[in-house]
Amino acid sequence: MEDITPFLLSLLSKPGISGYEESVSEIIADRWRPLVDELTISPLRSLHGLRKAATNERRPTLMIAAHMDAIGLMVKTINHGFFTITTVGGIDPRVLPGQLVTVHGKKELPGLVQLMPDRLLNNETASKAPTKNQLFVDTGLTQKELADLVKPGDLISFAQPPFEMTGGYIAGHSLDNRASVAALTLCLEEIKNYNLDCNVVAAATVQEELHGIGAATSTFSVRPDLAFAVDVTFAKGPGSNDYRTFSLGEGPAIGLGANNHPALTQKMTSLAEELDIPYFIEAMPTSSGTDGMAMQITANGIPTQVLSMSLRYMHTSVEMTSLKDIARTGRLLARFITDLNPDSFSKLFEEKTL
């Protein structure tokens, strides 16, 4: 299988902040074009790549979806050359002081998120955990030098470049969820030379991090017969050690619980066993916190399964994940697809009750 790292690094090099995914979508489209029969863009600009079944007869449609957007920041006001900010997506303000960022104004400017020195604060706010209202971005340029380069609403993305770690791991911002986009891509590559007995729509969806609206609208237009939401989950790490966390690099997590169709959960588990792919069962007592939630309740309801790769330091500039788990996830999905035909599809749901 091809090394996905260069592609993943190129995905990480683009901001693609929620609602503004074009830059990353273009890279994905270029990579997917030779792998699919049709490439379309939804009204909200999610990217849909269709692999058709090798027959004109009606076949089940499977959707594999991963959101391509990333968290980021936005300029709120401009004050003496400094910008007040708001967040796009869930960012812990406490990880922001000292972060290098790119301000996407009329031109791209390097900047730095910082907090007020304690000496300029009153006792209630000094030395406390910073809130987003107390943080600002400094470009080092004066108001005069900035002129009209930046205006309210301009985006700010993490500028910390991604880097490879010892032994097959990668660290950087936006691995949530570009790692899953890479897994989808590996899956498309793996099924490239197969004649399929089902239709497959790979979807790189928008705005998961902000309002969770991309996957729902994509699912509405694709109307798949079953769907996979591919996302990241928590790896064990500092302060992260409960049942919601999984050893990093030791296999993908297969969701179990109301957001997952039991037939799909079971099928994925047995496929992993068969392929000798290590995996975890991720208990999802109520909801998955992924696009899978909206996908499942779209239109008249879609059997949905959540598949995740574990990742440390989610929603920081130094998210860390395993390249091996990306490959494993891609392979699992590919095998599910190549096994799927009208027969196996109807068998899948035959004896299962919800």
Binding site: L112, L121, L141, F163, M165, A171, G249, M314
Partner: protein, 360 residues
């Protein structure tokens, strides 16, 4: 920089490349070897004497070409704040301590470079999704963070390994972003001044160690050199922000863009008034943008220098910089250039009369 400024030295590509090399290299207090080796190579072509003392200070001498020249010591510390690995936690995770002054709110979510092999790592903590509301309202404590080399980094680092921020130098117009501008700006300044040292001065340049943990290197360097006057060249924080409560900012320390900050008083030193007057006069005569650092806390190597042996008339001059002791500092090229020129002009204008009277 104002247009009428008489500039002798310019900060051009060569100077910025030098600063980039110095800031991208790691030299946490107690482990300054990488910085020392870079500087040693840079000064070798024009230094008359180079030695490393028992603490690790790099002592460089450029002899005067005239007899009975005054001995002037320039001091810049090489070390930077950083981290030390203190315990392995398994799974590529390591407990660490901070080396030097720092605010733990600045540590998390930064890439670091660990040990002499420069292993890539990150400082991580519990993600927002798993944090309770109470936790979200509290500062992320150092105890809750780990330096993480990834699962394959298990056993790769050992207790006592140093770690530095892995920030890379960035230039944006007149602004520069880098780690350790405190005090590689000072180191680069001394390197440039050594190149252009005037003939009537015995120039003693000390690139010192362990400033961030108590001015330790400067103390012994000054003992060795025992100069007739000393200038510590450092970086000082600019807190030049609008106060969030709208009141006037009366504690800005110094301002970015305000030129070199001449010290009058800090926690450790009352600068020699004759030297303050002299530097001010040089700046005025040469129309060099300058400012007085607000008297107050903080300190430089001058705190050690002026108390050495029988006492050494000392002063500090700093390049203003924002966000000292964090992963990324911010400074202005024009401030550095003004600092270089102030010091260059001061050395050139030096006469023994300046210190001939008694200290006020």
């Amino acid at each position: 920089m104002s247009p009428q400024t008489k500039q002798v030295l310019r900060v051009g590509k060569a100077q910025l490349d030098l600063l980039e090399e110095l800031t991208n290299a790691n030299g946490v207090s107690g482990n300054e070897i990488e910085i020392r080796e870079i500087i040693r190579k840079k000064v070798a072509p024009f230094a008359d004497e180079i030695k490393v003392d028992g603490m690790g200070n790099l002592l460089v001498i450029k002899h005067a070409k005239k007899p009975n020249a005054i001995k002037v010591m320039l001091d810049a510390h090489m070390d930077e704040v950083g981290f030390m690995i203190v315990e392995e936690d398994g799974d590529g995770l390591y407990e660490f301590e901070h080396v030097g002054g720092g605010d733990e709110r600045q540590f998390v979510s930064k890439p670091v470079s660990v040990g002499s092999q420069k292993l890539p790592g990150v400082i991580g903590s519990k993600p927002i999704h798993l944090a309770s509301e109470d936790e979200m309202n509290a500062v992320i404590s150092q105890q809750g963070m780990r330096i993480d080399l990834g699962p394959a980094g298990k056993g790769k680092a050992k207790r006592g390994d140093y770690a530095a921020y892995a920030t890379k130098f960035i230039r944006s117009g007149d602004a520069i972003f880098a780690k350790a501008l405190d005090n590689r700006l000072g180191c680069a300044t001394l390197i440039e001044l050594l190149k252009t040292a005037p003939e009537h001065i015995e120039l003693l340049a000390a690139f010192t160690v362990q400033e961030e943990i108590g001015l330790r290197g400067a103390k012994v360097a000054a003992y060795d050199f025992y100069p007739q006057m000393a200038i510590a060249v450092d970086s000082t924080p600019a807190f030049d922000f609008e106060r969030p409560d709208g009141n006037e900012n009366t504690e800005y320390n110094c301002k970015l863009g305000g030129g070199p900050a001449i010290y009058i008083a800090d926690r450790g030193t009352l600068s020699d008034p004759r030297l303050i007057r002299f530097l001010t006069q040089v700046a005025e005569e040469n129309k060099i943008n300058y400012q007085y650092r607000q008297p107050g806390g903080g300190g430089t190597d001058a705190g050690a220098l002026h108390l050495t042996r029988g006492g050494i008339p000392s002063v500090s001059v700093s390049v203003p910089g924002r966000y000292a002791h964090t992963a990324v500092m911010l400074a202005r090229i024009s401030d550095w250039q003004d600092t270089l020129n102030l010091l260059q002009q001061a050395l050139a204008a030096w006469t023994p009369e300046i210190l001939s009277g008694d200290r006020a």
